[in-house]
Symmetry: C2
Subunit: 259 residues, 2 copies
């Protein structure tokens, strides 16, 4: 049996990943079922996950876990079960959505904040990255007063020891792997003009999932403060381009396709 | 005997100072004898220092010390000795002059420099103030690379713990005392329109000396990074105003006045 371009794309996008099915399902619901009242049938979930190589048993375990964690819930609809995000799951999904789908950098400006080294405030709950116990790089400037606050000029490249604390090696490495995958799938996608609605949904989910695992680990800071070998900006732009090229199918169309 | 306005001014300008005569003599030479070939007679030095309450014996000791330190030298001129700055003394005087006589702030911009806390470079010979072992505030930006460098926006007020390290309490206190003296002498100077050439020279020396003791202890940084109670900018402006109001007398005129 010949391998289709779609199968090549799926294989490449799943190659570097540990298959955490519950996490992948979060991407499925996040991309397809954020609308109020959106319901995804068990059959559709099964079909979509099978398409990308996940076994039915693993899917059932993941569904169980997400229900237990209060992320999704289900109800009966005739002979079938339908699944949907709980208010908690929806809230967390909604919060992450702008970051995952953004085509531009997550923040326009970085601020350098230094508190009194005699009185470190590392435990303070402020978004950003603590470079040392009293030095924070953040996208939202705190009030001046007891802390020293200065904007970091756009485009300023941080020294390597500092940018290494902005984003750890593991996350940088993931961005490189994902960037390579995104580059590799280009020719296959160009060779597959006639993707089905279900295939488009699967590719979207894999793109969202691959990028989500990375972007949510990275701080909300402008690109220039990241390590030199961070490939986040490329991944972000490429994912945004592909999601625009393959618009989100409507749930009804997907359910109809498997009926 | 009535106290003249000149005497009131001298008394006020010398009140807060420990009488370090050798240091005062440096101010005398700095203000009057920087020109190449300038010579100051022993008689003139004696007259000027007596005018501001220094005993001849203390003056002789100070002259001895400055000669021993290689700051000044002397030669015979008939029955009198004449004194002059050595090349060393002149070089140090010339270096300090722009700072002492400046009417504007010593630097337009401050830069924040942070080196890797794992490899502190506090021993590095870079002008500026080390806030911690790896954080420097400086007016001259070093090359980027291993250090993080960012300009501090004009007008940025530093938090108190940080500005306290820019300029120590003792120097801030001296600026307050000197500012108070400068404010106090205003009425006396206005009441003394007919100051003699020698009196003008003495007042100039006291102004230069009073400010020199302070400004050379302060870092070369823009005013906004100093502590809130630092009165350097007021002192600097007032000294510059008064020196402009009482132009430097020529040495020949001073020597003639005591002949």
């Amino acid at each position: 049996m010949q391998i289709t371009p779609f199968q090549t794309v799926v294989e490449r996008l799943t190659r570097d990943q540990t298959p955490r099915v519950w996490s992948l399902l979060i991407s499925v619901f996040g991309d397809l079922a954020q609308d109020p009242g959106a319901r995804v049938s068990g059959s559709l979930l099964r079909h979509m996950t099978e398409q990308i190589g996940i076994k039915p048993e693993a899917m059932r375990v993941a569904i169980h876990r997400l229900r237990k964690d209060g992320w999704i819930d289900s109800e009966r609809n005739g002979r079938n079960s339908v699944y949907f995000l709980t208010p908690t799951g929806l809230a967390q999904t909604t919060q992450a959505t702008p970051r995952i789908y953004a085509s531009g950098q997550p923040a326009k400006r970085a601020w350098f904040v230094m508190s009194n080294p005699g009185q470190p405030t590392a435990t303070e709950d402020r978004p950003g990255v603590w470079i040392t116990s009293n030095v924070l790089i953040t996208a939202s400037a705190p009030d001046r007063g007891q802390v020293f606050v200065t904007p970091i000029e756009n485009g300023t490249v941080l020294p390597p020891w500092m940018s290494a604390r902005i984003c750890d090696d593991a996350t940088v490495g993931m961005s490189q792997d994902f960037a390579a995958a995104l580059e590799d799938i280009g020719p296959s996608l160009d060779a597959a003009p006639g993707l089905s609605t279900l295939e488009i949904a699967a590719i979207r989910v894999l793109l969202v999932h691959g990028w989500r695992r990375i972007v949510l680990k990275a701080p909300v800071l402008p690109d220039h403060v990241f390590p030199e070998d961070w490939r986040g900006p490329f991944c972000r732009a490429r994912v945004a381009d592909l999601l625009a090229r393959y618009p989100r199918p409507h749930l009804d169309a997907l359910e109809a396709a498997i009926a």
